[in-house]
Symmetry: C2
Subunit: 434 residues, 2 copies
């Protein structure tokens, strides 16, 4: 084996793979060798990981390919100075299996999981691309809202106390309770650091004033702290935990969700909000990607309609799942048997979804702010070379996010959010030095 | 060993104790033998368990005594037809240790825990009596509210994300996640069965109409289902889980809390509400215990003042603990550094306690209803021999509980609750056949 040893403590048998050690390892796994076909010497192996945390190899053989993801004992983006447990591969694999059972066809198939190597060999998705790239290029994905709202509704309902006995929910909580290091990344980078002076923070020149305003905004800091508390103590359903457009692979016809290594039992709105935040960030970024002013207006409109369809699709499917299969320990069917009872329960479902909606907006706002003022930015905005243009897009996103997080209940429906986004996109923000 | 074997599956080494097998077992535990003194043959051993679930032996020796609690593999009240895991002794012991560290002097000292025997040998509390008995007799406990509000505030704060890192909270959640069988008793008996036709239910003759009204009350069934959902999915703090006046031992000067075998990470208001519910039930029961009408008016007033002092004491102590030690991952101190920030945070603390208060009222109401319409009743009411008097007291309690649970937010403070209790105690309820 040509694998190098990590300087950080890892369990016996773990080694960081390179192409040749991986070839040897996969050759010993019949399920993977069969997918690839030919002999191991024929396989091409390429490390392509552009994420923040892991190694990702694409392995191709005469018969097919596999994507192999290996956890490193540290954060790839930062290096060995930031250790991170290998167990995240365990949680990812567990969540992938659970989510794929509840939302078939929307996650990659798993060929092989090696706990010791913290490695998952899964279906190589082709010609799928990372959705974020497609959206930067202005590509419309007509089936996306339908597919993703299904991915959200089925697993979020199916892992909740609305569908499961209390004991099954608690087993899920316990199964994922150890994924604290990944949760802490979210707690720190999303809910805390952007609101204080922190070494990890960075932002586009021109936004000093905006960043300072956010650090001084007591209402906003309370709002984000309430959201953080919910993130930590509201185990409503098994979340993906990092559902941005970089965790979604698409063709014009297909949508697949990857990378649930941040999975844990948390508030449903966190996953839904993550997607909406990333769609909104892309919306505001279009000013930096269009060939001429207004050239992407139709695309902008598509994004806003997609956000609306995503929420309404989720709402419809989640409600239907509850009506059809609300056999969990919560709101027991046996208590709601008369027509009057059922009318009450129907109103309660709407009220429940209103609460999820409020969470969704709050978490979406938090996700937008962290991508502009915190450690990890996204390329929708980062790839805008003109810093004034980028700062303009980002200031608009911050303005919307701040209002949505503090005045959440003024947004009575998803239309109110998209209408506000369109209005904010017409604002000319004040930048430093302007 | 003279211990009999249970017909239910138990782990190797477990046997249900009788006095003689317990004598042999305790003789082998130096920490217990030292407390008792003399030789094992000198010890008197008496089984006194009057609870619903376990065996309880009082063992006395020349030097001192110990109370020994052994879990049975079934519900004692019902028998072998209702199995219940022995692991509850593990959770009780774990919770006792954690709570006693946070609220010293308010729980019995543990001398010995035997996991195999599901047995805890603890301090024999004397001359303490079960508080419920004292209250039926009309005994005032001047220090109770002060002690119990401390017991509530310190552990509930100290095991929450306000005091602990998120990972520590999740460890606690995982540590107690297995106590699902005990949680399910609560979920079924408190939050579900009293609201439907169920074999376990029973009530005093005269209350058929009230029981039917509650089963047909859609608003109430939604309200109790929301509370059930919070019970299942709001791991705010490590709860006692069964904090009625039968789990509290008192003298006029001392208060000790026993029996946290229902412990789990849940909503704070559940523990606080449990105490308040039991004080209110005793309040309404006084009509059946006083020598002449009005003879217990001063005692009634003491109960209501105690409920007020309990909540305000909790509120004050919890807030003080947060101000002094809010070093958990929630509401991070680093975000609230300016005087303006701190003023915001002070308002948030009040808002947080308002939410705990609303939970407290809802759970108190649920606890009152279950003791009147569900399986497990309490002797405050059961010991009233005149069924019309008992039904009158119970109908009043049901009336208050229904209003508090459905119109929780109309009760703006604890004074509103005690004032309502006093008003309701003057009502003449309609009973069947009247």
């Amino acid at each position: 084996m040509g694998a190098q040893q990590s300087a950080l403590a890892t369990p016996p048998g773990y080694a960081i793979h390179d192409a040749e050690s991986l070839r040897t390892a996969l050759a010993a796994v019949p399920d993977v060798a069969r997918v690839l076909g030919g002999s191991p010497a024929d396989w091409t192996i390429e490390e392509v990981g552009d994420g923040n945390l892991n190694l990702v190899f694409i392995v191709r053989g005469p018969a097919g390919g596999t994507a192999v993801k290996q956890a490193l004992p540290y954060v790839r983006l930062v290096g060995e100075s930031w250790p991170l447990p290998l167990s995240r591969a365990h949680y990812e694999h567990l969540a992938l299996r659970r989510h794929s059972a509840l939302a078939p066809g929307l996650t990659p198939e798993i060929y092989h999981y090696d706990a010791t190597a913290a490695l998952i060999a899964m279906e190589y998705l082709s010609p799928h691309i990372i959705m974020r790239h497609g959206m930067i290029a202005g590509t419309v994905y007509p089936g996306f809202a339908e597919a993703l709202s299904g991915y959200l509704a089925a697993p979020l309902f199916g892992t909740s106390a609305l569908a499961l006995p209390a004991a099954a929910c608690k087993n899920l909580v316990a199964d994922f309770a150890g994924n604290t290091a990944l949760c802490k990344i979210t707690e720190d980078l999303i809910f805390t650091e952007p609101y204080q002076i922190a070494d990890n923070n960075r932002w586009t020149p021109g936004l000093d004033g905006h960043a300072a305003a956010i650090r001084g905004d007591g209402d906003l800091k309370l709002a984000v702290s309430r959201l953080k508390m919910r993130f930590m103590t509201a185990p409503e359903a098994l979340l993906h935990g990092d559902l941005h457009t970089g965790s979604i692979m698409v063709t014009e016809d297909e949508t697949r969700i990857i990378d649930p290594e941040f999975a844990f039992m948390g508030p449903m709105g966190f996953d839904i909000g993550a997607v909406i935040a990333n769609l909104l960030l892309n919306y505001f970024s279009q000013i930096g990607h269009e060939a001429a002013p207004g050239a992407r207006d139709a695309y902008r409109a598509w994004i806003l309609r997609t956000i609306e369809a995503l929420w309404t699709g989720f709402q419809t499917k989640f409600t239907a799942a509850w009506v059809a299969g609300g056999s969990g320990d919560a709101y027991p069917a046996a208590l709601f048997t008369t027509p009057a009872d059922r009318a009450h329960l129907a109103r309660e479902r709407a009220a429940y979804l209103d609460r999820v909606f409020a969470d969704t907006l709050g978490f979406a706002a938090a996700k937008m702010i962290r991508r502009i003022l915190g450690l990890a930015h996204n390329i929708d905005l980062e790839w805008i070379e003109d810093e004034r243009v980028r700062a303009t897009a980002e200031a608009r996103a911050l303005f919307l996010a701040r209002d949505v997080m503090v005045n959440t209940h003024a947004y009575r429906g998803i239309d109110a959010v998209t209408a506000a986004a369109a209005r904010v996109n017409g604002l000319v923000p004040t930048l430093d030095g302007a």
